[in-house]
Amino acid sequence: MNSQPKLLTTSGALGAGLRRELQLAVRSPGNTINPLMFFIISVSLFPLGGGSDSVYLSSIAPGVIWVTALLAVMLSMESLFRSDYEDGSLEQLLLSPQPLYFQLLMKVFSHWLVTGLPLVLLAPLLGLMLSLPVQGYLPLVCGLLLGTPTLSLIGAIGMALTVGLSRGGVLLAVLVLPLSIPVLVFGTGVVDAALTGQNFAGLLALLGAILALALSLAPLAIGAALRISVN
C-alpha cells in the first residue's frame, strides 16, 4: 500500500453511495419494475371493474392514480433497507464517519429515483387510460413530483422501524398510511382544482411545504429508527 489514498469530501462520499444504489438497482431490476407493474395493473383494473363510462372514469381518475401511486411507493419500500440490514451493511452505514443525516437523505433520494420517479413519468399514460381531461395532466405530474418524495421519506421511517421484523409488511402499511393522508388529500386536490378551473398553485405550494418538512425531519427519524432496529 504505497500509493496515497485520495481523500473524499462528504459530497464525494455521498456520490459514491448514490452510485452504489444505482448499481444495485441495475443488478436487481425487480425492485424497480415490480412496484411499477403494480401501479400499471392496479390502475388498469378500474376501467375494467368500474365500467367504461368516460365521465365517471375521469371523475375518479385523480384519486385512483394517487391512491395507487401511494400503495406502489409503500410496496417499493421493502427494498430500501432490507438487504443492507440482512448483510450488515446497515451497521457499517451507522458506523460511518460521514453525517448520517445526509447519507440517509441520499439513500432515500436514490431509492426515489429508481422507484418514485418512474411512477411520476408513467402517470400521464394512466391518466389517458382513465380519460383524464387535458388540463389535468400538468397538475397531476407536478403534484406527484412533489408528493412521491414525501411518501418515500415517510415510508422510509416506517421501513426503518420494521426492517428488523421478519413480516413487517402489514405493520408498515398500518404505520405509514395514516401519515400519508395529507399528501393524498392535497395531491388529488391539485388535480380536482385544475379540472374545475380553479388556481391550483396554492395546493402545490402546500405539497412543497410538506416535502420541505419531510426533508428536514424524516432523516432524523429514520436514523433513530435504524439505530433501534440494528440493536
Binding site: 500500500m1 500509493s3 489514498p5 485520495k6 481523500l7 473524499l8 462528504t10 464525494g12 462520499a13 456520490g15 459514491a16 453511495g17 452510485r19 452504489r20 448499481q23 444495485l24 443488478r27 436487481s28 438487504s83 443492507d84 440482512e86 448483510d87 450488515g88 451493511s89 451497521e91 457499517q92 452505514l93 451507522l94 458506523l95 460511518s96 464517519p97 460521514q98 453525517p99 447519507q103 439505530r227 440494528v230 440493536n231
Partner: protein, 209 residues
C-alpha cells in the same frame, strides 16, 4: 487511548457484566473470552456504539465517544458476524463504497488487498457467485484497505482456512506493531508475535442469578 469504565449491561434480566473496566493503548491486542452467550458480541457492539443499552463510560483519547461519534467512527474498524458485503455487487463495487463511506478512495489498495487475499481476477465477479470462504475474504479485504487505528473484530477467523488464519494473525500483530489497537473475540487459540491481554467475561459475570 480507548477506555471503558464501570460498564454494566443486562439482557433479558440477566446481568452480562458489571463493573467492567479496561483500557487499551496503542500497540496492544485485547482478546475478549467467554462461553457462548456470555456477552462477547454485545460487549463489542457496545464499544462500537451499535448498542446503547448499557451504563458506564466509554472514552476515546479522553473524550466520551458519544460526543465525538463521527471522529471516533473514522478511527474505528468493526467486523461483525454479518459480512457487510452486498452479494449482488462485485468485490470492487463493495469495497469502493466502503472506502467512500469512510471518506477516501483508494483503488490501488483495493486491488492489492484483494490480490493478497487470493481474489485477484475476482474483482468484477458478483459476490453471489463466490464461495462462502471467498465472500468472507472480500469482507476481510475491508481490513486491508481500512485506515482505522482501532480494530474491533468479532470472530474474525470464522470460515477461514489455515493459511488465512495465519495471515490474519500476522495482520493483527502488524497492526499492533504500527501503533494500532485491536480488540477481538475468538474461540481459536491465538498465535500472535505480540503479547495479548485477555478479558474473561465468565469471571466478570458479576451478580448473575
Amino acid at each position: 487511548m480507548f477506555a471503558a469504565t464501570n460498564l454494566y449491561c443486562e439482557r433479558d434480566e440477566r446481568v452480562l457484566f458489571s463493573h467492567l473496566d479496561f483500557s487499551i493503548s496503542a500497540g496492544e491486542v485485547l482478546q475478549v473470552q467467554g462461553a457462548n452467550g456470555s456477552g462477547k458480541t454485545t460487549l463489542l457492539r457496545i464499544l462500537c456504539g451499535l448498542n446503547p443499552d448499557y451504563s458506564g463510560d466509554i472514552t476515546w483519547q479522553g473524550q466520551a465517544v458519544q460526543d465525538i461519534r463521527e471522529t471516533f467512527n473514522g478511527e474505528l474498524f468493526y467486523l461483525g458476524h454479518s459480512p457487510a458485503i452486498n452479494k449482488a455487487l462485485t468485490p470492487l463495487q463493495n469495497l469502493r463504497w466502503y472506502c467512500a463511506s469512510r471518506g477516501f478512495s483508494d483503488d490501488a489498495a483495493i486491488f492489492t488487498g484483494l490480490a493478497e487475499l487470493g481474489l485477484a481476477g475476482y474483482e468484477n465477479i458478483p459476490c453471489h457467485q463466490m464461495s462462502a470462504g471467498q465472500q468472507r475474504r472480500v469482507s476481510l479485504a475491508r481490513l486491508l484497505v481500512s485506515q482505522a487505528t482501532l480494530w474491533i473484530l468479532d470472530e474474525p477467523f470464522t470460515a477461514l482456512d489455515k493459511r488465512g488464519v495465519a495471515e490474519l494473525e500476522a495482520r493483527i500483530a502488524a497492526k499492533a506493531a504500527e501503533g494500532g489497537a485491536v480488540i477481538l473475540t475468538t474461540h481459536h487459540t491465538l498465535q500472535l508475535s505480540c503479547p495479548v491481554r485477555v478479558i474473561n467475561l465468565d469471571v466478570l459475570t458479576g451478580v448473575s442469578n
